[in-house]
C-alpha cells in the first residue's frame, strides 16, 4: 500500500515566497544579489534569435540550382532591408528581367545550392523577465535569472487562467457564499484584483475583462461560463498563456462553491494591498497552481516565518474534495490502518471524520485535503 497523498493548497497569512524568474534561453541577468526589485522591474533579458525566412530564389528566377550564384546580388552575412534585390537574371539583351527581393529585413544566412533557396534571418527579438513580486534578489543564477524572495501572504487557487498581473485587492462581496454578478462591476475596478464568494457568472467575467480588471479571485465557475469566456474549451489543464486582460483564480473548483472561510477572511484582511496574481495552472508533471501573493513589506515585523507541516492526523481539519461530501468541512476522528470497502466497491485507505453539520462519515483519504490551522 502506497503512501496516501493528501493535497493541500497553501493559504497562509505569512510565508516565505521564492520565485525563480527565469529566461527561456541564456541571456543577461540585470538584477544583483540583495537588490530590491518591484513587480514591473526588468531583472533579466535575452534575445530570441529571429526566424529565418526562405526565398525560393532559383525557382522564382527559373535558373538551374548551380547557376544561382551567377544571379546573386548578396552574400552570406549581408544585412538586407525589405524589398532589397537579392538576385536577378536578364535575358533578351537585358530587356527581360527577373528579380527576387527580400520579403523581410534581416541577415542573409543561407544560400543553398541544394535547394536554390536564400535564407534571411529576422533580427532577434528581445525578451525581458520582470520581478513579478516586490522582494529581494536572494540568488542570481548566472545567465539564466534570479530568485526573488519575500515574506508575503499567499493563497494558492485550484485552477486559473491568464498570466501575471498586479493590482490592489478589492472585496466585491461581504460573505464567501455570495457570487459576483455583472452589475457589481464598473470601470473603477480597472487594474484591481477583485474578490468574490461562491461563483462568477460568465457575464460578470466578460464585463471584468472589458473594463480591464487585473484579476478575479472567486470560489468557483461553471464549466460552460469559462468556455464561453475564453471562446474555446480547455482540454488539458495547462493554462496561463490565454490572451485575456483579466486573470482568473478559482479557489475551490467548478460549479458554484462557497469560498473557504479561511481564504475569504485572509483576502478580506488584505483589502487595499497590492497583490501579484497569476492564473497559470499545470496539473501534470510539475504541479503549478494559480496564486495570489501579497508581499508584506519590509516594515512589517512579525514572528518568524514558519510553515506548519500539514499532517493527516486525528483532529486535523479537513475538507472533502469529491462527492458525496464535496466542499464539506470536518475534523478527522479516526485513521483506520487497514483498507476499507467503500460504496463504489473498492477497498481503499479511509479516514473517519465528523462534518460541521454533525454527521459522522467515512471518506477515502485521497478525497480530502487538509486545511492548515
Amino acid at each position: 500500500m502506497g503512501t496516501a497523498y493528501t493535497p493541500g493548497l497553501k493559504v497562509s497569512p505569512r510565508t516565505l515566497v521564492r520565485k525563480y524568474r527565469r529566461l527561456p534561453l541564456k541571456g543577461q541577468v540585470l538584477a544583483s544579489q540583495g537588490e530590491v526589485v518591484s513587480p514591473d522591474m526588468v531583472v533579466a533579458r535575452t534575445e530570441i534569435p529571429g526566424v529565418m525566412q526562405t526565398v525560393r530564389a532559383a525557382e522564382a528566377l527559373g535558373v538551374d540550382l548551380h547557376d544561382l550564384h551567377k544571379a546573386l546580388r548578396v552574400q552570406i552575412g549581408d544585412t538586407v532591408v525589405k524589398d532589397q534585390l537579392l538576385a536577378e537574371t536578364r535575358s533578351f539583351f537585358g530587356l527581360m528581367r527577373n528579380e527576387v527581393k527580400a520579403p523581410i529585413p534581416g541577415t542573409v544566412e543561407l544560400i543553398s545550392d541544394q535547394t536554390g533557396h536564400i535564407g534571411i534571418r529576422l533580427t532577434a527579438t528581445p525578451i525581458e523577465v520582470h520581478g513579478y513580486i516586490q522582494g529581494k534578489v536572494a540568488e542570481v543564477v548566472p545567465e539564466e535569472g534570479v530568485i526573488v524572495e519575500t515574506e508575503a501572504a499567499m493563497i494558492q487557487g485550484i485552477f486559473g487562467v491568464g498570466g501575471e498581473k498586479t493590482g490592489a485587492i478589492h472585496m466585491l462581496v461581504s460573505n464567501p457564499d455570495q457570487p459576483i454578478t455583472e452589475d457589481m462591476i464598473d470601470e473603477s475596478m480597472a487594474g484591481k484584483v477583485i474578490v468574490g464568494g461562491s461563483n462568477v457568472s460568465g457575464a460578470a467575467l466578460r464585463k471584468a475583462n472589458q473594463v480591464k480588471v487585473a484579476g478575479v479571485v472567486v470560489g468557483a465557475i461553471i464549466d460552460r461560463d469559462l468556455i464561453d469566456f475564453l471562446g474555446y474549451d480547455i482540454g488539458v489543464a495547462i493554462t496561463g498563456q490565454e490572451d485575456i486582460d483579466t486573470t482568473l483564480v478559482i479557489t475551490e473548483g467548478f460549479g458554484s462553491i462557497m469560498m473557504a472561510d479561511r481564504t475569504f477572511n485572509l483576502l478580506k484582511s488584505l483589502e487595499g494591498k497590492q497583490a501579484s496574481i497569476n492564473g497559470a495552472t499545470q496539473i501534470r508533471a510539475g504541479v503549478i497552481r494559480p496564486e495570489v501573493i501579497v508581499p508584506l513589506g519590509e516594515d512589517i515585523k512579525g514572528d518568524e516565518v514558519v510553515d506548519a507541516v500539514q499532517a493527516l492526523e486525528i483532529g486535523a481539519h479537513i475538507r472533502a474534495i469529491r462527492e458525496p461530501y464535496f466542499g464539506m468541512l470536518g475534523n478527522v476522528t479516526a485513521l483506520p490502518p487497514e483498507p476499507v470497502l467503500i460504496p463504489s466497491g473498492s477497498t481503499v485507505r479511509v479516514l473517519e471524520a465528523e462534518l460541521t453539520d454533525g454527521r459522522k462519515v467515512t471518506i477515502p483519504r485521497a478525497n480530502v485535503e487538509i486545511i492548515a490551522e
Binding site: L110, D223, I234, G235, V236, G253, I321, I342, S344
Partner: protein, 594 residues
Amino acid sequence: MAEINTILATDCGSTTTKAILIEKVDGEYRLSVRGEAPTTVEAPFDDVTVGVLNAVFEVEELSGRKIIDENNLIMRPAKDEKSGVDIYLSTSSAGGGLQMTVAGVVKAMSAESAQRAALGAGAIIIDVIAVDDGRKDYEKVKRIRELRPDMILTSGGTDGGTVKHLAEIAEMLLAADPKPRLGMGMKLPVIFAGNKNAREAFSEIIKDKVDLRIVDNLRPSLEAENLGPARAAIHELFLQHVMQQAPGYGKLSSWTDAGIMSTPNAVGKIIETIAEQFSMNVLAVDIGGATTDVFSVFEGTFTRTVSANLGLSYSICNVLTEAGIGNIQRWIPFDTDETDLRNKLRNKMIRPTTIPHTLGDLRVEQAVAREALRLAFEHHKSLARSLKGIQQVRTIGDLMDQGETGLTLVKMMDLDMIIGSGGVLSHAPRAAETAYMMMDAYQPEGVTMLAKDSIFMMPQLGVLSVVHPEAAAQVFQRDCLIKFGHVIAPAGTARPGETCCTVTIDGKNMQFKYGTLSVLPLGLGETKEVTINPTRGFDVGAGKGKSITATVEGGTVGLIVDMRGRPLLLPADKKARISKLQEWHTALGLEVGG
C-alpha cells in the same frame, strides 16, 4: 552469466515509482512482492532515486530481504537467501517521458514511418512535420521553435531518391533554430534517417546548429520499412540526453545492470515477446491519468501508439472535448444532467488524485474510460496499417476490387487477446467491470480472450525480457496476467429479439438472442470445446452463417456471450438506452449505481 535467482525491477512513473521483486522458487521465476512510493523527480526532492529507495524499502519490509546497504545502494549480487539481489533494472516515464517531433517528406509515407519508429521507441509525438502537410513554411518553423521537444527524427526519400526535399527540411530546422526541452544551452539532438544520398546535403546545412546523428534510412524503398536503426538511435539519445538531464537519473543509471528503458518501450517489448512466443495477435492498452498507450501485434507486426491527451485524470476533460458529452453520457446507466456532469469532470481534472467514492461516480468514470479507450484505439488503427505508396500492378478487372494500400492491420476477427492495464482497468473493483469496458470500447469479434495486467508490472517485465526472457515470460504468465475469460461475439446486426447464434457446449445447445449479454460459468484455467453456429447475417470468423468449433477458456468472469452485435448499436431513445444498459449490467452481475 552467474545464475540469477533474485531480480529487482522498478518503474518510475510520473506519479508513482513501483518496485517488484522476482525470485526463483522450485525452479520457477515468480513475483514475490511489490512496493510503491511517490515519484520524486520534482521539488523538494529533485532526485528520482529517493522514490526508488522508498519503493524498495517497502519491498524490503514485505519480503524480509535486505536489499539496500548502509550507503543507500542496492546490494548486488545476492549475498545469501536474505540479502541483496542478483540484478537490478529500471524503466521510466517520469518528467513527461520522451517528447519528440518527427519530420518527413510525404505525410502519409516517410513521416508516417517516422511516427511509427518514434512511437515504437516509447516517445510521445508532439508534432508531425511534412513537406506536404498543408501548412506554410513559416507556420512549420514557428511550431518547431515553440514546441521544444527532447529530440527530432527526420526522414524522407527512398535511398537514391529526393535530396532537395530533405535539404528543405534541414533549412526549416535551421530557420527554427530549435532548443531542447531540458538542458539550457545544449544542442538539440536530431536523428537523420532519410535517403542515404542526402546525408551530406542535410548535414552541411544543419550540423553546426544541432547534435546530429545519422542512421540508416527508415524507408529505404517504398515497399520496405527499416525502423530498427532509428529506434536504437532514439533509445541511445534518450539515455544520453533526456535521462541525464532528469534529476537523479545519472545516479540511477549507475545502479542498473542494463540501460534505463522508457516505460512504453518496455511494455512494447513484453507484448512483442509474448505475441511471438504464443503465435498470437495481441492488443494491449495502458490507460493512465494523462495518456493512453495502445500496443498491437498483428501477423507479427508490432505497432505502438500513444494518445498523449487521452486519460482519466489530468486529461479527462480532453476526452470530454474530443468525444463530446453525448458520447460519454451514452454509456452511463442512469440519467445525468449535462452541466453537473461537465463540472464533475472538471473537478476530477483539477484534483486528479481523488477516487470515485460512490458507485454512481464510478460508473461515470468508467463511461469516460470507454470513450478514452475508443478514441485511442481509433488513433491506433489509423497508424497500424500497411505501407502506403506501394506500387501495385493492376489490371482493368482489379480496379474495382483490389485492396488499397495503407489499410489497417487491426482486424478484430483475427484478434486472440486483449490485455488491459492502467488504474481504471487494473483497479476496477469487479473483474466484470474491466471486461465490460473493454468489450464496449474495442468491440472484439469472433472469439477473443480478455485479460488484465494484475498490478501493472508489464514495464518491469519488458526490460527484464531483454536481459532474461525466460524469467520475464514465466512471471508474465503466472503472476502478471489475470484472464477474465473468452468472449464470443458474432459480427452483424438484426432486429431485437431475433436469434442470432446457437452455442453448443457439452452436447447442449443454447440459443442466444440479438441484443443480449450473458455469462456462462467457466472458471480460471477451465477449458471447453464449443461449436458456435451463427445465423445467416452473423459471422464468428468463418464467414456469415458458418459455424466454427473452438476451445474456449474461462477466467475470473467466465465465458462471456456478447450478442449485442457488431457494430454495437445503442438505442437512440434515452429511456430505452438506459434500460438496455441496466439489463447488461445485471447480466454481468453488476449493480447500476446512480
